[in-house]
Each structure stands twice: as C-alpha cells, then as structure tokens.
C-alpha cells in the first residue's frame, strides 16, 4: 500500500504524552527513566496487578540467566530486539562477565529508547544501537549493524524478551520470527519471554485493556501459541516454562507459585 511506503519514508515522531512500554517497564523496575504519562499508566496497572514489578524483575533475572547461560556456552554475538531502556543488568554487561569481547546490537523502535541507549553506550565500542521495527523484519535485517552481526561464521543469540506480546496477531508474529530465524547463522539461539494467558487468567483482560491505550497494545498468548515460536529450533532444558522455572540460580528461587508470574520463557537452538 502507498501508506506503507509513505510510513517507511517518513521519520518516526517523538510523543511523550502517550505511555511507552519501554519507559513503563523502567518504572516497574523502580527506574526514573520515564515521564508522567508513563508513570500514570504504570501506577494504574500496578494497582490492579501488584505483582507487576516482581514479574518484571523475574523477567530481567531470566534475561540475565539466559544470556549468562549462552555466554558460558561460547556465544559472543547477541541481537536484543525490543531492548527498551536496559539499565538493569544490560545484556552486554552480563555477557562480558564470561565473554569480554561479546558484541551486542540493541534494537528498539522507540526513538527515545534508542537515543537513551546510544547515550549509555557512547563509549562502548562493541555495542550498537539500531532503530528498527520487529514488524518490518526485512528492513530490520538490512540495517548495516544487524547485517554485520549476522554475517556467517559465528552463531548469534537472538533475544526476543518481552517484546513479541507487543505484536498483534494481524501482523503475523510467527511469520516475523520465522523470517528472523531464517537469517540466523547455523547453531544460533533464540531466547524468548512472552506474557501468557495461563497462570493469572483473571488479569489477562484488564491488563490488555490498559495497554490497549498505548501505541503498543498487549497480546498475551497461550502456551501452545508461544511454543510455536520455536518452530525450527530445538528447545533446551527445561523447555518452555514459567519465568522462574528456567534454570534457577538456586532451587528456592523458583518459589512455590511460579505461575503467579505468568510469562513463558525458553531458549532454543538452531541445528
């Protein structure tokens, strides 16, 4: 459509009056990289679902564990799509504890998040920040920094952490993931974290309603649908599980009610 072409030709606009998922997330985590509109929405969501900060911390902890796991397995290239405002345990810091030369490309479509990451990473020679949209995978993959990271030779860890639930069904999220998968070098990995309908079904409707007002409506999905994102991958142990169940630091860290933090996570490997 002509409208599509126009959109890709014209620059994105910066709107601070509308809640933004990356900044709301930062607020859940106790950060101050946010504006009034973000905080208003986050407070409203937390009132309704007080576990949200815990969920976000668990999400962050999963990101740390999975990156740590992959770095320990020798991964040195990371593509973090939907990176947001990564102040708390950013990927490059976690990865470099084991792989000092780890290269990370952060991708987000929000211009403020991108500008912020660029300010944070000005001095970091091995990290790149790219403004691109997961829903335009061809353009995303064509970004020079992304293309350079995906050059054959070494496997890449593709991180899709808490981002796919911002892609509505009409944009065919599974096809988008397949497109990215097909661009990965052999032996690459995908790290996935996705808000699910199981665990707290009572929260699904109201929570999605709150996000419906943002530019990034939320689509919580069922386990089966989330599992299909791993088509073509081999899920490593323990498979697709709740946030805290994935290779916990200590057995106690799982907690008695992992389903109360209702996100499914997993790590898959390409042949």
């Amino acid at each position: 459509m002509a409208g599509h072409t126009w959109q890709t030709w014209s620059p994105s606009w910066v709107d601070l009056e509308t809640p933004n998922a990356a900044r709301v997330y930062d607020y859940y985590l106790g950060g101050s990289h946010n504006f009034e509109a973000d905080r208003r929405m986050a407070r409203q969501a937390m009132e309704q679902w007080p576990d949200l900060p815990k969920i976000m911390q668990a999400n962050r902890a999963f990101l740390r564990r999975s990156v740590h796991y992959l770095a320990a397995g020798g991964f040195t290239r990371f593509l973090d799509i939907g990176s947001g405002i990564p102040t708390l345990g950013p990927v490059h810091e976690v990865a470099r504890e084991l792989q000092p030369d780890a290269r990370v490309v952060y991708v987000d479509r929000d211009p403020v998040a991108v500008a912020h990451s660029q300010l944070m990473l000005e001095e970091d020679l091995l990290s790149r920040v790219v403004q691109a949209d997961l829903t335009e995978p061809d353009e995303l993959l064509a970004q020079p920094d992304v293309a350079a990271l995906l050059e054959p030779g070494e496997p890449v860890a593709l991180l899709l952490v808490a981002v796919l639930h911002f892609v509505p069904d009409r944009l065919h999220p599974h096809a988008l993931v397949a497109r990215l998968r097909d661009a990965l070098p052999p032996g690459s990995a995908m790290v996935l974290c996705h808000a699910c309908r199981e665990g707290r079904p009572d929260q699904v409707g109201p929570h999605q309603d709150i996000y419906a007002r943002t530019r990034t409506p939320l689509t919580m999905r069922g386990r089966e649908e989330i599992g299909r994102f791993f088509d073509g991958f081999r899920l490593i142990d323990p498979g697709l599980v709740y946030l805290t169940q994935w290779r916990p630091d200590t057995p106690e860290a799982v907690g008695p009610h992992p389903e109360r933090l209702p996100g499914f996570v997993g790590v898959g490997l390409l042949p």
């Binding site: 910066v14 990289h33 576990d51 211009p111 660029q118």
Partner: protein, 713 residues
C-alpha cells in the same frame, strides 16, 4: 510506590499483601527465630535477598557483605549510596534497613540508622534526577533527530517535486490546480500564476478522447485510484505538447479523496517521430503524396466500409514522355518534374475530394471514393489531362510532358482492390497504345485480353505448380439421335485474384511465351487419365476425348514422345484421343508440324481441325494432313443471342457445302455453338454429323458429365 513509612516494619514481617516484593519465606515465625541467631551481616544480606532483584544470589551475598562491612566501619552513608546504585530503591527496603540498624551492634557513633536513611534519600534523589535528566536528554535527542529527519524528508520531497524531470501538478478534488513543479511549467511554457487556481477541466484539447475525461471524473469521484493516458495540452503560447499522463488520487487517513496528483511526461518528440514515421510509411518522400501502401490501405478501407451499391472510380495515370526527360535531362530534372506533376494533380483534384497517390516511377492514381457514374470518373480523367496540358518549366526547359489515363468505374464489392488497380492499369495501356495524351475507359472485353497477357506472363509458371488449372468437359453429340459422341477437354484457370479464366484469356499468351508446352503436357496427361478412367469404368460407352493442340505444341518434336508416354502411363486406347488443331497450326511451317502430326496419327490418334472457316481456309491441307474431322466455327451458326446473322442464307449454304465436302473426304463434321433445337435440326438436315454447344451441354466437371451420359443410356 505505596510504602507506608509510618507502619512498623520489623524485618521478619512480610510486606503488606499486594506489595511488590512478596517473599513468602520471610513471613514465617521460624525464620524470625533463626534470624535472631544470625550476626548483623547475615541479617543484612538476608534482608537484601528478600527484596526483589534480578541479580545473581552470589552477587547479592557479596553486596550484602560489602555494605554490612561499611556499616560496621561506621560508614552507613556509603552503604546506602552503594545499595541505591545497585538498584535497591524500594522504600520498603529503607524501612527494614532502618529497623535493622537500630538493633545493630552499638560500636557505632551517632545515629547510623538516621545517617543511612539520609544518605539513601540523597542517593535516590540524585539517581532520580540523573535518570530524569538522561531520559529528557534522550527524548530531546530523539525529538531533534525526528525533526531533522522530517525536515530532511520534506526537503527531499520538495527537491523531488521541484527537480523531477517529469512534470508534477497537484490539484484539489474540486479540480483546482494548487501546485505545479518546474518541469510542468516548462512543459506548458507557463508561470505558476498562469496555472494556479485554474480548473483542471480547462485543459481540454480537441483530440482528447471521451474516455480520458470519464476516467478523470471517476478519479476525483473516488471511483478509481489512478489512470494513465496520452494526452495533448495547449501550451501558454498556443503550441501543442503531447504528454504521457498519470493521475493518482490521494486520500486522507479516513480514505476521503483529498488531492489529485498528475505526473506528465513530455512525449511530443516521440509523438512527432511516430507521426513522421507513419507519414514516411504512407507517403512518397519525393512528392509528399500518399504512397502505394497508403493508397491500397485507403482503397481497402473504402471497400470495407462503403454502403451497398456505392460506386468508386480510379484514374490510373502514366506520364507519356517521362522516360525521355529522365534519359536526356537526368534524374534530378526527372524528380523535379514528378514533384511538379504531383503538385498540379493535388491542386486540381484535391479540392474535388479525390485522393491522389503516387504508385511509383511516373505512375499516379486518383481515387474517387464517391462516384456517381462513368461520367464522374471521366471528368476526373479530363481534369488530370487538363492539369498536365500546360508545359512544365524546369531549369529553363519547357517540358510538354503529356499523360495517359486509364479510367475505371465500378460498383464497390464487384472487384478486389488489386484487380481494380490492375484493370485500370491495363486500361491505361490501351490509351498508351492509342498514342497517349488521352484517357480510355475500362472495357470488360478488351480488359480480358490485356489481363491474359498480363497475368500469364507474370503468374502462370507459379499457377501450374500451385494447381490453379483444372479441366472441364463439354459434350459433342450425334445430331441424328443426340447421343454422346465425344467430349472436348477445356482448360480453366482458377486465378486467385481474377477468378476463373477461360482459355482464350490466357492460352494465346501462353503460346507466345512458350508456357504452353508445360501447360499442354499437363492438360494432355489430365485428359488422358480421365478418358482412361472412363474407358475402364464404362467400356464401350466411354466417350472420345478431344484435346486442343496449339501450333507451338504441334511444332515441338517432344510432343510425340510426351503423348506416347502419357498413353503408356494411362493405358488409354489411342483411338479415344482426338487432337484438335487450328488452321494456323495446319498453315504453319509445314515440315516440323507435318512430321509430328503424322507420327501421332501413326500411333492411332485422330486429328481434327478446330475453328474451321475462320482463317484463310487453305483446302490444300485437307489433302496433306491425316485428318479425321472438321469443327465448324460457331461464327457460321449465329451470335450467342440467337439473333440471325446477316446473310444467314449464305452461311447455311456454305455449311451445306462443307458437309458435302466432309462426307466425300470421309471426315466427321462437327458444328460448334449449337444453342437451340432448331439449329441442331437444321444442321442435321444439312448433313452435319455432330453438334457442340449449350443446347447439348455446357462445359462441366467430369462427375457432372458422367451423370449426363449415364442418363442418356
């Protein structure tokens, strides 16, 4: 956050329900008991662990040990700053920490809990301000970049619009022109003021098709998104510019039509080139008149579209003395002459609505698309001659050129374009033969003669290969009882353009050119094969077949061998073959033909003289030739119309005399041209043996002839 700073918050107590940091194990009384046995650093670290963090447990342990040590060293402010730096910013944590510090070892000076809380507040405030500043900066950067990108984008589009090689115009859906780029202004030779505010619909041109404006209406009505066409426009200076036009509809976010954008590519040069190429393809470069191709195209179009019963006329013009001019004064003068002639013809005939074309060389043609009769066509021919009567002055030479004109006037649909032009051409030649400087009118009969000369020489060799010839058979019947005595094989030519031609239309020419030899062989072999077939199938009833032999054939020594081979091939009994020769054959150089004819008769074939009485009938050959029959020319009997010929009594007396002569010489006498029962009866009474003519039967196909003689038996 919703921490309640007033509420007592003993470390073992779980946070209020609904708090973000639910840590179930921290709520158990057993834990409280165990904690009391712990040292301060242990309790401190356990507190940190209870609060949510994404850090690895070992790091939490290390952080706890480090900050507890700071407190023990009397630096609670450093501990607070370090914790805030590690994202331990939950106010609940402060409540718990203050509680722990109050019960901490009292080696501290001052109030460690107060110092910790103050430092924690300061650190958190600093962090908040720093983060706010960072995110503001990021927002500013992003906004600035977005604005720059928007400006760049706008500049890009403006540059694209302004400097595009194609003309671009923007209009409202009401049809008002709002903007036009440089190329468009150049194309129209206009200033922006000349175009802005004008209505798109004012830009009509007489050559616009209705479809263009229909498409335009559909577009601004939102019924279509775009259309393309070639369209001419008037420039500001009145000149015409041809464009390839693309018009697109621009809708707003709701889908409502807002603007129309027209993109125009100047194709004037291409259009003119096409026109020139078409002109070149259809016009004679020397004189500028329509050429042969264009003329035939026009003629065919006329034939395809003319009303029933409409007539057309052709004047085929050939200059009488062009070759002399060309040869004596050179081609350049010849060309000038042609240009002058073309000019005079166009000037004289154009206003009458006639088309003048040059077919090539010094041949021109005038087409009268509407012709009320011969007089119209003749008038046009007179105009042609009148236009060329005055001598033409070229380079001081006064050239009295003169012309001949063949005039044809026919109803449309009775003749093909090709045949019409050939007929006019052949009519022209009669004018030429008569000395030129005149017109002649098409005449069917004289045309036929000319046609045969023309067509035979050009097309006959090919026609034989293509099987365009065929034979028909006309019965010869006994006058006594009307029974079938013989058949005469007659050759026909199914000419692709002229239709079916009779032998007298092409045999004379074939005789002249020598083509008669292969054609004659073909006729003989066909006729003999047919006769042999009848002989096989009907035995005694099978008729004798008469085949005409021309003088040239008769002089050809190969004829004997040809016939011998044909008889052998077909297995035909030689007595069933009769060759008809003309008087001229008999009167030709005697030596060759006599030998040939004798040799044929020796084979058992019989001979008859055809058209007897039309030439200077030298009776000597009746003595010298081995003849079996005479065929009396139809001119003795009468005109086909049946009207009595002048001096008919004399004619009948001659017939009677010839009948006596034939009988005395033992010859079979056949009368040709018998059309009525009366004639047949009279001939029988005079002693004629056989009759041939429409009364007994026209030339027909072999199958039809079979029906005839089977019916008679």
């Amino acid at each position: 956050m919703t921490a309640d700073p007033q509420g007592p918050a003993p470390p073992p107590d779980p946070p209020e329900a609904g708090k973000a940091r639910a840590a179930p194990e921290a709520a158990s009384p057993r834990e409280t008991a165990r904690e009391s046995a712990q040292t301060f650093p242990e309790r401190w670290t356990a507190m940190l662990r209870r609060h949510g963090t994404s850090l690895h447990p070992t790091k939490v342990t290390a952080l706890g040990a480090r900050t507890a040590a700071m407190i023990c060293e009397g630096r609670p402010a450093s501990a607070a700053t370090t914790l805030v730096g590690a994202h331990f910013t939950d106010p609940d944590l402060l409540v718990e920490a203050v509680g722990l510090l109050r019960r901490a070892p009292s080696s501290q000076t001052g109030d460690p809990a107060g110092a910790f809380a103050a430092a924690w507040a300061i650190a958190l405030r600093e962090r908040t301000l720093r983060q706010q500043e960072t995110i503001r900066t990021a927002a500013d950067v992003a906004r600035r970049e977005a604005e720059q990108a928007l400006h760049a984008s706008e500049a890009r589009f403006r540059a694209l619009f302004e400097h595009a090689a194609v003309g671009i115009g923007v209009g409202s859906v009401e049809g008002e022109i709002l903007a036009a780029n440089r190329s468009l202004l150049e194309m129209f030779g206009a200033r922006l003021e000349d175009l802005r505010g004008r209505a798109v619909t004012e830009l009509v041109h007489p050559e616009d098709t209705p479809e263009i404006w229909q498409a335009y209406e559909d577009l601004i009505g939102g019924k279509r998104e775009s259309f393309q066409c070639d369209k001419p426009y008037y420039r500001q200076d009145g000149e015409v510019v041809w464009t390839h036009l693309t018009v697109s509809l621009i809708r707003d976010e709701d889908g409502t039509p807002r603007y129309q954008v027209a993109m125009l590519e100047d194709i004037t040069d291409r259009y003119r080139l096409q026109e020139r190429l078409h002109h070149q393809a259809t016009h004679d470069p020397l004189t500028g008149l329509p050429n042969r191709a264009a003329f035939f195209e026009r003629l065919e179009e006329l034939f395809a579209t003319a009303a029933p019963g409409a007539h057309f006329g052709l004047c085929y013009i050939d200059l009488d003395r062009f070759k002399i001019v060309n040869d004596s004064l050179g081609h350049a003068t010849g060309d000038q002459l042609l240009v002058e002639v073309a000019g005079r013809l166009a000037t004289a005939l154009g206003p009458l609505g006639h088309t003048v074309a040059r077919l090539g060389g010094d041949e021109f043609v005038v087409l009268l698309e509407h012709c009320d009769g011969e007089h119209d066509a003749v008038a046009a021919a007179r105009t042609v001659l009148g236009a060329l009567r005055e001598p033409i002055l070229i380079d001081g030479h006064k050239l009295a050129i003169g012309a001949s004109v063949g005039v044809l006037e026919r109803p449309v649909g009775t003749i093909t374009p090709g045949a019409a032009v050939r007929a006019a051409d052949l009519t022209l030649y009669r004018a030429k033969e008569a000395g030129g400087a005149r017109w002649t009118l098409y005449d069917a009969r004289t045309n036929a003669e000319a046609v045969s000369r023309y067509t035979v020489s050009v097309r006959m060799p090919m026609a034989l290969d293509r099987g365009e010839f065929f034979l028909e058979y006309q019965p010869l019947c006994a006058l006594t009882d009307g029974s079938l005595a013989a058949v005469e094989a007659l050759v026909r030519w199914r000419h692709p353009l002229l239709g079916i031609l009779q032998p007298d239309e092409f045999v004379p020419a074939a005789e002249e050119t020598g083509l008669i030899l292969p054609l004659g062989r073909w006729i003989l072999s066909q006729a003999c094969a047919q006769a042999a077939d009848w002989q096989r199938r009907y035995g005694r009833l099978a008729p004798q077949v008469n085949v005409n032999i021309t003088a040239r054939q008769a002089r050809n020594k190969g004829l004997v061998a040809d016939i011998g081979r044909i008889l052998a091939d077909t297995n035909l009994e030689p007595g069933l073959l009769q060759l008809e020769i003309t008087e001229s054959t008999a009167l030709g150089p005697r030596d060759e033909s006599l030998r040939v004819l004798n040799a044929l008769v020796d084979k058992g074939i019989t001979l008859a003289v055809d058209d007897f009485g039309t030439g200077w009938s030298n009776l000597a050959y009746l003595r010298d030739l081995p003849l079996s029959g005479l065929k009396l020319s139809s001119s003795f009997i009468g005109e086909p119309s049946g009207e009595p010929v002048p001096d008919s009594d004399v004619a009948w007396r001659i017939i009677g005399g010839l009948a006596d002569l034939s009988r005395s010489l033992g010859l079979t006498l056949t009368a040709e041209g018998v059309e009525t029962r009366e004639t047949a009866e009279r001939l029988r009474a005079l002693g004629c043996d056989w009759g041939q003519g429409w009364y007994f039967g026209r030339p027909v196909t072999p199958e039809q002839l079979e029906e005839l003689f089977l019916a008679n038996h």
